[in-house]
Each structure stands twice: as C-alpha cells, then as structure tokens.
Amino acid sequence: MLFNSYVFIALFLPATLIAYYLVHHHKAKRLAVLAAASFIFYGYWDYRLLPLFTCSILGNWLIALWYAQTLRKSLITGGIVFNLLLIGIFKYADFLADSVAWVAAIERTPWGIVLPLGISFFTFQQISFLADLKKNPENFRPLGEYALYVSFFPQLIAGPIVRSSEIMAQYDLDPVRPGFYERLSKGTMLFIIGLMKKVLVADPLASIASPLFDRAAQSGSILFCDAWLASINYTVQLYFDFSGYSDMAVGLGLLFGYQLPYNFNIPYISKSISEFWLRWHMTLSRFLRDYLYIPMGGSRYGLTRQMVVLFITMFLAGLWHGAGWTYAVFGVMHGLALCINHLWRRSGCRLPAPLAWLVFMSFFITSLAVFRSADIATAMVMVRSMYGLDGLTMASIGGYNEGLLIAGVLIAMVGPTSQDVVTQKLRPHPALAVAFSLAAIYTVLTIGNHGYSEFIYFQF
C-alpha cells in the first residue's frame, strides 16, 4: 500500500486513525491497533511476505529476551549475524552468485529469490535494537511493543531508521495529551507537503529522466546535454521523492502522537561530501556512524585506519541500497570522496564556497548518474557523455519542464525544509486551513490523472 494511493489516503489511514483514537486511553489496545494496522499495511503488498517478516521480528525478539535474561553478549552477536544472514540471502545471494559466475565465466540461472519489501530498513532497525540492548539491557520490551517498533507502518518500508530509545519511550504517552490538535494539524501538513513533493514534482521529473536513462541503456549512447539533463532531473527527483516520503512518514507519526526523526536538512546546499551526509538521509548516516564506522574504529586508531574504515562504511552503504554493481560503485565513489575530503580538510586548504559547492554537486550528480543507471555499461555511457568524452553535441530531445526543474533545484538548494516550515514557522490561521485543504485536494485529483508510482527508496 503506497502512501500516495487512494486506498491508503481514503480508507486505510482514516480507518486506522479512528480505531486508534477510539482506544487511545488504553496503551495495550492502541498499540495493538497500530501493530495490526502495520501488519495489514505490509501484507497488502504481498501477503506471502508476512511469514518472513513475522519470523524476523519473532526471532529477534526471542534473542533479545534471551539476552535480557542471561546477558550473554554472544547472543547479540548471533542476533546481528542472524539479521545479516537474512538480508544476505534475500537481497544479495543472487547478486553474489552472479558475480562469482561472471568471474568464473560460468552460465547460471538466477534463483529468483523475491526481495521482501523494506528488508533493508527493518533489518537495520532490528540490528540497532540489539546493539542498543547490549549497552542497556533494561531497554528490553514486550513482544507487542517490539513488533510495533519494527513494523510501525509510517517508517516500515523506507525509514526514517528509528532507534528504539527514540520511539519506545513515546509508547507510554497518551496521544490525546496537550498539543493533540497541533500534532494532528502539523502531521497533516507534513503529509500533504510530502504528497505534493512526490506527485507534483518528483513524478513529473521522473517522466523526463527515466526515458533518457532508458534510452542510454538501450542504445548505448546519449548526447552530452541529454546526459546532464537526465542526471540533474534525477538528482532533483530523488530529493523530492525521498524527502517527500520522509515528510509523509514524519507527518503520519505525528498523527498517531509520535515524533519520528527527520531525514533531510537542505542537502543540496552542501559544499562538501562530509557536510552532505550530515544533511541527507540523516537517520541512515547516523546508523552507519554508530553501528559501522565507530565500532570499526572510527578515528581512534590513526589516519590510515580511519580512511579504511570510512571507505568500507561507504562501500557497504552503497551496497545497502541494492544488490548491483552500480550501487557498489556509488559507494566506492562516496567512500573515496569522503577520504579525499577528510585529507583536504586536514591540509587546511579551502575553496571559495561557490566553487566548493560546484565541485561537490558535480561529483554528486555524477555519482547519481551511476546510481540510477541500469548497469555498469550504461553508467559508463552516462559518465562519458556527461564529461564530453563522446562529443559535446548540444541538441536535446527538448520537451522538459524547465520551470519545474528550476523551482525544484531552488527549493532543494535553498530550502526551507518542510519540518522547519511546519514546526517552526506556521501558526494556526483560517487561510492556512483553506490553503492546505485546496492543496490536498488538488494533489489527490492529480494522482487520479496519472495513477500512483512507487517511491524510489521502496526498492531498497
């Protein structure tokens, strides 16, 4: 069930809200309603995925229970390995076997393992729970609460990746507490803004970028300016798609009385790769820092180790996005860029801010061209064309929406962020109610025109 689908907006969400608030004063009941709704939400995609999802939750909770009773640290290690095995089998088995077969020049038929939706997100969330439990065993929670922590539908499929300490403490709070209407209002505003980002900006931009990437994949060539047009469109599309989803997730959280962490903070204003990762997909960056980079040594064992750790972290981050070599190369590019950026900063050199921004954005757009390409060969075609290695032909297919693209670039670069506008700036006002109501209806009507498309991060 997609957040931008009619069944979600007109049926699932209102029904869940009504059921939830009918029992709001009773903690166990309201959490049960949310957990049940979340399982329905997940099963709606494909009910055959539910057994694996349920087993994963149950398995992790049993490990946590065992640990809470015995405090045997090997259990946590075992639990993390269990999670990595699960994601390894379902997400990477075919990819690894294909890669081995390619190296050995062997023909193989893919096993065709179905990728369970959101496995990257709910696996990370469970790893984070186990790792945190190791430090604070008293954070162990009953099965119902744990199941809701993993399955909570606003952030189940594509984050934000929530730490147990951030959300579980809120379970005890009655959602109809002071600030109830403000949370409902702001949650709705964020949801509408996210929906607008997806439907009115990201989807139209996708209709420009996707055919160009497809053409590059099919024909093995693309013109210089079309390569840039495709990549810039995709860069803006990705921001609006993913930040739109994140706004909707945070907004939905607020509707149920929970504050979820924010994921974006005007990332395209960044003047360096390190600044970018503090502003982009912030909950993933935080996860990578706390559960990979620091445990592997971080900056504690000298520069060389730090560089290696940084590189490995970003390589794994690239692979986390998908089982494909384009994602691996994306991770390598970002790992190398972070290392170079770190050395550059240590050297004390500085670029003028506009130049630094230009250098970073050129790099980032190039890395996204690789990320978006269907395969390495297409990525090579895109990058070669972008840097004029296949000529500098300026003729374009035309027909792109310059106005939308420019508006998108400006919003993505300058901000403000949705959360800043909604939580800090807006105050209750009749005109605001009218504006959001009209915006919501216009956006929903637009969905009816084009149908709804998946969010990009759902595939990860």
């Binding site: 009749p430 209806i441 149908g451």
Partner: protein
Amino acid sequence: MGIRNLFTSNSSFTWKVYWKGFVALSLLLCLFIYSAFYLIDPYNCYPFSIKAPRAPVSSDARYFHTMLARSKAFDSAIIGASTARELRPVQLNPLFQSRFANLSFNAASAYEQSKMLSLFVDHHQAIKTVIWGLDFVWYKTEDTYTKFARPDEDFPEWLYSADCWKHPMSFNLKNFEHSVNQLWYMLGFKHFKYGLDGYTTYARRSMSLDEKRLRIYGSTTPLEKRVADPEIAMSAEQRAALVFPAEAILRSSLERLPANTEKVLFFVPYHFYHQPPDGSYEAQVIQEFKRRVSLLVQHFPKTHLLDFMIHSDITTTDPYYLDKVHTTVEGGAVIARDIYRSTRAKASIEGRVHYLGQIQNLYR
C-alpha cells in the same frame, strides 16, 4: 489578512479550530466535487446524473469517445488512430445504411483501440458495421510493441470499465476540468467544435500544396522514393518467426464482434513516399503482417480486409495528404468511397485498393 499572519499567533484561532476547520472543509470540498462529477457526468456514464444533452467538450478523445461508444444513437463504429479520423460518419451512413460513430483517436495503441471497440460492443447488442483502420501500431514486432503509444499520456482505463462510476480513479483532475467544461456547455455558455458523432477534422486549416509537400517530402518539390539499400531477402522461416503482439489483440477483438456484424479492416494509406521500399526489412515485416491478418480474417464471417497501404492513385496524390500519414478531408472522402466500392464489389479496385479478405459468407 496578510501572509504575515500565517506566521504569527492568533489566540482565538487555535490549532483545535484549525484542525476542525481543515477536516470539515476538506470533506465538504470532496463531497462537492464528487457530487459535481456525478451530477454533471461529463462522460455520460453515471447512473444518477442530470438529464441534459452532453457533448465532447475537449480534444481528450480517450475520455470523450467513451461517451459515444456507450451511446445508443449509433449502431456502427470506426476504430483506429489518427489515420482513421478523416472518415466521416455523414458520408458513410447512407452508404452502409448505418449510424456510425468515429471512435478513432490520435496515437491510439492497438490495446487502446481494442478497449474502445470492447466498450462499444459491451453497449450494443446489434452492431451493423465496424470499420477498422490498421496502422503501424499493429505491425510492431515484439521488441518495439508497447501497450500504450504514449506512456507519458494517460489512458483512463477506469472509464472503460462497466462500473466506471464506482471507480475511485474517477476522482481526478481531468474529470474536474471536463466537468466544468460540460457544465458550461449544458448552461449554454460555451460551444465546442468536437463532433457529436466523433468526427472532428484532423485538418484544422487549409494548406497550400507547397506546404503539404514540405510536410510529406521535406521539400516543396516531390522527391524520388528511396530504394532499399541493401535489399534483404527474408526466408520463410524468418518471416514465420516474426512475433506481432498486436495480432492476438486483433484476433480477440474480432472474436468479440457478433457474427452478423459487417467487419471492414483496412491498412491505412500512408503516403507512398513514406511506405518502406520494397526489399527493405520494414516492408517485409509489413507484408508478413498483412499475410497473417489475411489468414486471420478467414476465420471470421462477414469480414473484409482492404489494403490501402500500397502504391496507388491515392497514395501518390499529394493534395490528398496533410503530411506523410494523414489525409485531408478530400482524401478521407476518397478512402471512404473506395472502402464502400471495394467491399460491395468484393474485389480490388485497380490502382486504388487491394482486396485481401474473404467474403464468401458476407450475405448469408
């Protein structure tokens, strides 16, 4: 009430008032829009709408031709893409003793055309005649076939379902825009140029011969047709291996038509300059598709198959064309007349059209 107020506190308008106002307004607006859709009913498919005359109020034929396909005012249909748009029902009606609706529309894919025909069949028990123009979307091979000719342009599938009025996708911006236009039409405030029988000329303005030639040849002087270079000789096995995904669509569409409906399929008359040269791969693909369709129509009674996509007096007469594929009003009239003459004579007309289909049980 300035915009500045949106960012300042107003003690009387609390979040509670905001929320209730927002929810009430949104629900009211939804109710109002839905009611408007059902009452105005721009596509004339809802059961409880206002009884008033309706018209195609926009060029969105994918939407408005559904209204004509449901209408009992017609007992015959013209199906196809833009290349069939110049067939005028007023010319064909007396010839075929039928009441035609021209349900063809621009850039219609094979799938979209079949959906339009299905809708017409669903709403008519006795169908007299169906004339169907076959253009390039039908002989696309496996690699090039697409379900929708314009993936970026929406095909409203919901409008082609029997219970379209229940469909949630009816809540959309097009419906809103069309409802407003339809309301204006009902109130007599606005008139639209789109024909009530589906015919709206493709030729929006008159063109000089030079202008037409410029569009046909890219030059005001007629050019020699290119020759196949190199010529390709496809073996029988290669031709048999060609896969035309639209062939199955055509078969299932013909199966849906009543046995006593007269069916006229014709390959549209692309200008000869733009027909692939003999000996080229494309020409042989088209030839193979024509052969397949001529075999297919053997299985369906009262079916004619005509081929205008040939070297003929029509396809070499520049004044009949607006561009390389679309004919003028005059060109359309010539084709309509030749369709009639050829089907009634059950034979080719020398230098104009090839008769490819069987007709032995046409009048049983």
